[in-house]
Symmetry: C2
Subunit: 211 residues, 2 copies
Amino acid sequence: MKREKIPAIVVTRLSIYLRSLAILAQHDVEVISSRHLADMCGINPAQIRRDLSYFGEFGVRGVGYYVNELLFEIRKILGLDKQWRLALVGVGNLGLALLKHPEFQNQRYTFVLAFEKDPKKIGTIVEQLTIAPLNAMNRLVKEKQVEIGVITATPEWAQKAADSLVRAGVRGILNFAPLQLKCPGHVFVEDADFTIKSDALCYKLTSLEPG
Amino acid sequence: MKREKIPAIVVTRLSIYLRSLAILAQHDVEVISSRHLADMCGINPAQIRRDLSYFGEFGVRGVGYYVNELLFEIRKILGLDKQWRLALVGVGNLGLALLKHPEFQNQRYTFVLAFEKDPKKIGTIVEQLTIAPLNAMNRLVKEKQVEIGVITATPEWAQKAADSLVRAGVRGILNFAPLQLKCPGHVFVEDADFTIKSDALCYKLTSLEPG
């Protein structure tokens, strides 16, 4: 299913709605008022309505949203109604933390491969994965039908890791390394590098009056 | 120093320029052409000029930018010409990875405290920090003059962690927990939760034609 391009910020907010709805579903809440959902998300109710209107009609006037129904629909919109197959590149502390992270051990994401360039780590087993060498990437990524590469390599070899992933046919990269990856146009890259966020925080603390 | 509000995206790009300039400085590059810097950052030269023009005049026509000078200026703009004192809340796998991360062990950031609610972890030492209980937060945060709280707690107690940090006087929070924190207006929160980024990537892979 191919859609019109939706503003990136709308997609971000869908992800925020999804998190709140998932918490509600865990607590067996069946219906939520639009005001309550908005409050949980820190976003106003009109904005939620506008965002959802890109994708169809959701919610019932005077009632609110049916939690499981909206959860199901947003998962479908985001493409999270399937499990994505990930390969980790760089099994340092951050890489290990991601392998063990609940977000990547649920029904939406699963790591099927882990790569390292450090010979001491290659062949060892972490989270039921045998750490593989970089030169096996092309073969293994195809064999395991990896869809997303997660890069936690150091800046020095992150670009090489991205190049190898792309050569092996990966079309999506989640990049934790603090550098701008250069990838061909058919590859989507999302930067998850938190140093950008910590720098932005320091800027605000230094230069802005408290809001 | 208090300035006019600069668009968040400009601040983000300053952080990207900073990363590239730091790599250049490490390699003893003294001058870089505006085109070469733009290429490293994946941003066009005119955009870089426009972004920098918010803060003054940088670069020399026909020459480019003096690496160390621009590095120094951008650090000053972002408030990174000092070392920020951080407290970690939640010493799980991700928290440990952050404590050991090179970005948080440099001249710009230093962890001075780590908190946990798990009694088995309290009192143990990680990266030269003795893990402290939550009920010591108020006293310790003031004593150590913490400026930024880094939350890697689970969603269930992340809000409580934020409330305690704010009560203890912290004005900046870097939040890795997958939920929207509610904080008073004088507190700045930056979300570093990567699940938003992975969801956005899945959306693109599902719904967009390759660019």
